[in-house]
Symmetry: C2
Subunit: 326 residues, 2 copies
């Protein structure tokens, strides 16, 4: 059985101080050294993934490696930050080389796609747990925050919502899907694409942004509390896959409004800047959909159909809370 240092050296140590990455010293010293561009602010995000909670024991390790990094890059994207590098702390129940190799492949494939390096970390024995901290940079004052939404702004979302939750329901046994449909929603759950390019394109354009990890209503609630305003969500407008569109209205509602694990960007922008938003999304190569508006005063409402708007609280959906067993 290979020891800890051997496993790390074989699968995770790569030349990380390549010219241009801003990484000066990577894995192998007490700390990684990073040189941000002059005057930039740093954006820092940490997420911990636990077996049975954030991923199932059946997940392919390559997809797990992808997802562990993706959820952190999604946080950077939601701030409009440019990723610089990341650390990985990993607890493994046993020294399983095939698992580690596949995990590293998935992780580095996404890291390479974004031109960033693994700069350090830790490996230990323990119940399976991955903790990634991603570090990015953003010019001072240009970070997208949750606090900037204003009455009159339009509400936008990237990509499609709800497929990850649909996959989860299949895993939970509450729903059956044909294999080809299942594969497509399973990919949404296991391999989300962080919207980094979109976040960069929205600098100076979006008035607020957040990434969707706990479900639209819960995450939008964070934006509204921070911004001191309310919103009306246009339920029929919410973008969904053909697979989700075939499900019952109740299941669509659950998946779209309280699905969790979407890792799309939810953002607001002044209505007058609609064409700029569309151009920015096109430049980033991501579909965006206008799905509501910000209103004065507190309160989150959902327009279920034209002329039929209800308070979100009456829908009996709620945000994801790790300790409530949802």
């Amino acid at each position: 059985m290979a020891g800890e240092f051997d496993l790390i050296a074989k699968h995770f140590m790569r030349p990380s101080h390549a010219p241009g990455t801003g990484v000066m010293e990577g894995i192998g010293d007490d700390c990684a050294l990073l040189q941000p561009a002059p005057g930039q602010q740093l954006a820092v995000s940490s997420d911990m993934l636990v077996e049975g909670r954030h991923f199932l024991s059946t997940v392919q390790p390559e997809r797990l490696g992808h997802k562990a990094l993706a959820v952190n890059l999604s946080d950077l994207a939601a701030c409009g930050a440019e990723p610089l590098g990341f650390t990985l702390a990993l607890a493994l129940p046993r020294s399983d080389e095939a698992f580690v190799a596949a995990l590293a492949r998935g992780l580095f494939a996404l890291a390479d796609a974004h031109g960033i390096a693994l700069i350090g970390g830790d490996t230990t024995a323990g119940p399976l747990n991955l903790c990634i901290t991603a570090i990015g940079q953003v010019p001072p004052g240009q970070a997208l925050l949750r606090s900037g939404a204003r009455a009159g702004d339009e509400l936008w979302v990237s990509g499609l919502l709800g497929d990850a939750r649909l996959a989860l329901e299949v895993f939970r046994g509450t729903l059956a899907l044909d294999a080809v449909y299942f594969e497509s929603v399973r990919r949404a759950m296991e391999q989300p694409e962080p919207r980094v390019a979109l976040g960069l394109a929205l600098r100076g354009l979006a008035s607020s942004a957040i990434d969707l990890s706990d479900g639209l209503l819960g995450d939008l609630g964070h934006v509204l509390r921070r911004s001191g305003c309310g919103a009306v969500v246009d339920m029929p407008a919410l973008p969904r896959s053909a697979v989700l569109a075939r499900q019952t209205a109740a299941l669509q509602q659950l998946c779209l409004l309280a699905g969790g694990d979407d890792y799309e960007l939810l953002f607001t922008a002044a209505a007058a800047r609609r064409s700029e938003v569309i151009a920015a999304a096109a430049k980033a190569g991501v579909a965006v959909t206008c799905c509501g508006r910000i209103v004065a005063g507190a309160g989150l409402h959902v327009m279920l159909a034209p002329g039929h708007t209800v308070a979100a609280a009456t829908l009996g959906l709620r945000g994801f809370d790790h300790f409530d067993g949802s």
Copy 2:
């Protein structure tokens, strides 16, 4: 039972963008935003602590909070970096408010002592696991690295070695100690003091540095491999507590050379700079001891007594490897 957000809000959210800390947006947005001083490099360290591996289930949560941050600040210290802030990702088996409150107290007491803020993180249900990522800054070119030791340098260590291992042996039942002695070595194990001030004072003075987490021989081995040289450790000179000095020669040797969990700095400096090293340590308020020298060629030797020097490998001690069950 309080939900995740309530627990975090109550015990971990503090105003973290106080003037002067360089922290712009803390917990509550997608990312923390940090403004390093102009032109500084960043030093980043991540460590994951797992129950039964890095701490015992009997540890007081306040001490655990201290230690989780201390081991990361120790890495920053070993680079000569000035701490700026840290993230905490926490997996908890259940929503235990008393535990979280005490953990937060221990964590913030050490954070406050170093003038740094918790800037973000994550909380989830799962087997107890703490992952902290600490971020510091250091002027370009001034970071202390493992690679700078040169033949002729003197080898130094801060504080006392081996008490943490002595405490571990008591917990393992291989040793009995009077209560008052046990409390003192237990404190060394559970509440190490990161040598941040010493690390700063050694900038431009130490030729290499590392923090002692896996035992002196193992950690010194990392320095020697990176630096391309060898060393002779002066065993009688190694600084030890009165409690350790009362133990058998074999146990002293184990604790001093392969103890683990010391979190002292091991560093090298040119012999001509000895008085500067002593002055820097005095300024930092930390005792340092010269305990060997760097020699040309590969090889790590231990002088057990004057005139009796052996190759370290012949002692049958080895560095800590999480997968070898040590």
